[in-house]
């Protein structure tokens, strides 16, 4: 059940929250787990079997790793086997889903596979004990809002919160606010940019102008950003309503100076996972500079593979990795001194890289790049002009809210008297936003959830 569906927003969430606040404290964890499984299995109950198998596997391996903690070789072999098994299972299932039109695709697999691996690595590295109660691990792996697009958490943070978390009116109110803002990002912005992207993609690549190629890529990047950001924020909001403090997954990446800064603000918890559990742990930290760079490139190739099982995703990861190395070795000082250059460099380069995400082949990507560089069918065509004039307002709004200019203004405003006075309007603004979101959700030409595409 997608978080942005009417079934969830109108029927499930209010009932889920109401019952959660009515039942005694002891039963809340079981209630959340049961709710997560129902939502996970919504529409295809058989789907629950895969994560169930996954859960028992991780729980058992975690206990074994703890019991034989002193036998490091055995533990290393056990961890390596588990990691290979899980990664292979995830890769095979996603690849089969990609080939067979996603008839059986246990959604959230990209999220709970990483969480499961992080848990096992944590036990192996003695960062935290193995879970004693299977329901704790189950909730860590399958807490429903997180499954769609993160954010990822490590088990230490989660288990600490599990015992201590308290729910109150302030948390519930803040959580609802975050959820509504995330829902707006998804159904108002992401869906509009998704629609715009889909319309622009109908332009034959042979007759594509520079304007249309750039609009397509900008629409896609805004769609991707607001889709992932919207789901992550909805998850954070729902988590807060249930007493969990989930981390932010995005931090206004547009207008960041340089690709390093851009990528550090993009899908933050995923990058952190790969850096902690792959680059620093598996590659063991770098002794020499070239090893560090090689590790960085390899990490980004894997991040690309995590996004999707296609050659283009791997190439995207490779490109980003190489660009980061280039930036750190050649451009870093220059970017530090020339902020605007850094911003433009990151914006333009990242737009070029997204072409690999949405095109079907390298040949097609090449045609897009050619058109973006001005070697396509002229500077502008009718459809490009039409879409630019029709969607100028929403494109500007999207670009603005994706930058930290928006955050800076809202934060500064909050410290002023006027801003504090305006806080009184917060409930009305959120109610209005919720009403507008419900209207947007009635459109039938909405984009499918991105995780189905990745």
């Amino acid at each position: 059940m997608p978080l942005s569906s009417l079934t969830f927003t109108v029927l499930t969430l209010p009932v889920l929250l109401l019952l959660y606040y009515c039942i005694p404290e002891k039963g809340k964890q079981w209630y959340l787990l049961a709710g997560s499984l129902v939502i996970y299995g919504w529409g295809s109950p058989v789907r629950v079997l895969y994560p169930a198998a996954f859960l028992f596997f991780d729980f058992g391996v975690g206990l074994l790793l703890e019991r034989h903690a002193r036998k490091r070789t055995l533990c290393t072999v056990l961890l390596a086997l588990s990691a290979v098994t899980q990664t292979a299972a995830m890769a095979l299932i996603r690849y089969a889903a990609f080939l067979n039109g996603r008839t059986f695709f246990p959604f959230g697999i990209a999220v709970y596979s990483l969480q499961g691996l992080a848990y096992l690595i944590g036990v192996y590295r003695k960062r935290h004990p193995a879970a004693v109660r299977i329901q704790d691990l189950a909730l860590y792996l399958f807490l429903f809002p997180v499954l769609y697009a993160g954010p990822l958490m490590n088990y230490v943070e989660f288990s600490e919160q599990l015992g201590k978390r308290r729910t109150n009116i302030i948390g519930l109110s803040e959580g609802l606010g975050i959820f509504i803002r995330g829902l707006a990002e998804k159904v108002i912005l992401a869906d509009t940019f998704g629609f715009l992207f889909r319309e622009l993609r109908q332009t034959p690549t042979g007759s594509m102008s520079m304007l249309t190629a750039w609009l397509t890529t900008i629409a896609f990047s805004l769609y991707l950003y607001f889709e992932l950001m919207g789901y992550a924020e909805m998850a954070r909001g729902i988590g807060k309503c249930f007493g969990f403090e989930l981390p932010r997954n995005f931090s206004h990446p547009f207008f960041c100076p340089g690709i390093t800064a851009f990528m550090q603000s993009w899908n933050i918890t995923v990058l952190l996972w790969f850096q902690t559990n792959f680059r620093h742990f598996l590659l063991g930290g770098a002794q020499k500079k070239w090893q560090s760079y090689a590790g960085q490139v390899l990490t980004w190739v894997l991040i690309g593979a995590w996004y999707g099982m296609r050659l283009q995703f791997l190439l995207w990861g490779l490109c980003i990795g190489l660009l980061l190395v280039f930036e750190q070795t050649v451009l870093e000082r220059y970017i530090r001194r020339h902020y605007i250059f850094g911003v433009l460099y990151a914006l333009i380069t990242v737009q070029f890289s997204w072409v690999l995400f949405y095109t079907g082949s390298l040949g097609e990507a090449g045609q897009y790049w050619r058109a973006m560089l001005g070697f396509g069918a002229g500077l502008a065509d009718r459809s490009g002009i039409y879409f630019l004039t029709s969607y100028a307002a929403i494109l500007l709004l999207g670009l603005y809210t994706a930058t930290d200019l928006f955050r800076n203004i809202t934060e500064r405003l909050a410290t002023t008297r006027v801003g504090q006075g305006m806080q009184i309007l917060t409930p009305v603004i959120h109610a209005g936003l919720l009403i507008f979101c419900l209207g947007s959700m009635l459109y039938t030409d909405r984009e499918p959830m991105l995780w189905l595409l990745l």
Binding site: M1, S5, L6, T7, V10, L11, P14, W42, G43, S44, P45, V46, I169, I170, L172, S173, E174, L176, G177, I180, Q202, P204, R382, S383, I385, Y386, T389, S390, Y391, A392, A393, I394, Q420, Q423, I424, T426, P427, V428, H430, A431, L434, I435, F436, L438, G439, S440, M441, L442, Y443, T444, D445
Partner: protein, 361 residues
Amino acid sequence: MKHFVHHAMLIVVGAVWIAVIAASMHDLSPYFPKPTAATLASGAWTQQLESTLREHMGFRDSLFRLKSRTDLFVGEKMVQGVYVTSDKLLEKQSEPAADAKVLAEPVNTFYGANALPTYLVLIPSAAEIYESDLPANAVSADQESLIRGVYDSAVSGIRCVDARGVLSSRKDSYIYYRTDTHCTGYAGYYLYQAAIQKMGFTPIPYNRFVITHLTTEFRGDLYRRTLCDTVRPDVLDRYGNEAGVHITGVQAVYQDGTTEDRGTQLSAPAALTSEDPYRYYLGTPCMKLTVTTDADNGKRLLLYKDDFADCIVPFLVQHYSEVCIVDLTQTGEAFAEAADPQDYTQVLFLSSIRRWQELWE
């Protein structure tokens, strides 16, 4: 202050939720899908529930209008694939995924297998005829070249009717509904005239028909998709010819095999008060509709059609003792199995190019 804001937030957001849920409970109850073990396991029930909510949720129309009007206000010119202009709603047409040869294949195969006098009429959409009325720089598929391509790919024995030419020459008249995708009865007459001439008959003169305005408040499928009420409602006309042939029987066969005797009534007056008044012309859609008349010329027509043909059928039946109407949208590729073509003297394929694309791509 902070506490007040949090309490107010819960009260205001909660009030929105309660209002929507309460109204939905009332509006949804007649449509609520009944879950069964099979639909629950297959996921069909959850999809039905979502689409039912989308259609019948409390305050549905108000919420939808809020969204669509805001979109139009900030510069968008299209709502759910429909261009909104000052005086009409025009559906955006997609570029064909298949080439013209593929689209001509079904009719060529049929002609090859049956060798009957076969005619093909492909009707363009309003956006093709009123391209100049689209918002500035808006694009819609070039249906003219597509239709020409299909006609050129049809084997030589198949005779094609230039519906686009007929409609273009009358573009200043009321040939398409303003709020619906279909052609008006007026356009239906001229399409009938062009087709029946090609089929060897003399068309009945226009002035022989008595025109009755069935409703002047017809809001069609494009209105239902956009809920845009800035465009005037349409007029739905009935073309009657009391001096012409009379219908002696109408038999409907539905997709599930059930049959219905509709007496001597081709049209369905009850549809005028339903959600889709365009169904007035042929009633509830069915897989096959057999119409017999008191014409004693022994001519029998097999008509393969989509819903664009509905307003043309009342004119066509004037020339035949029997017309068998097969709905291509219900039969799909198995259309030739719905009736034995050898029982008929002529075969007419009559469809909108948009539906034709959807069917054979």
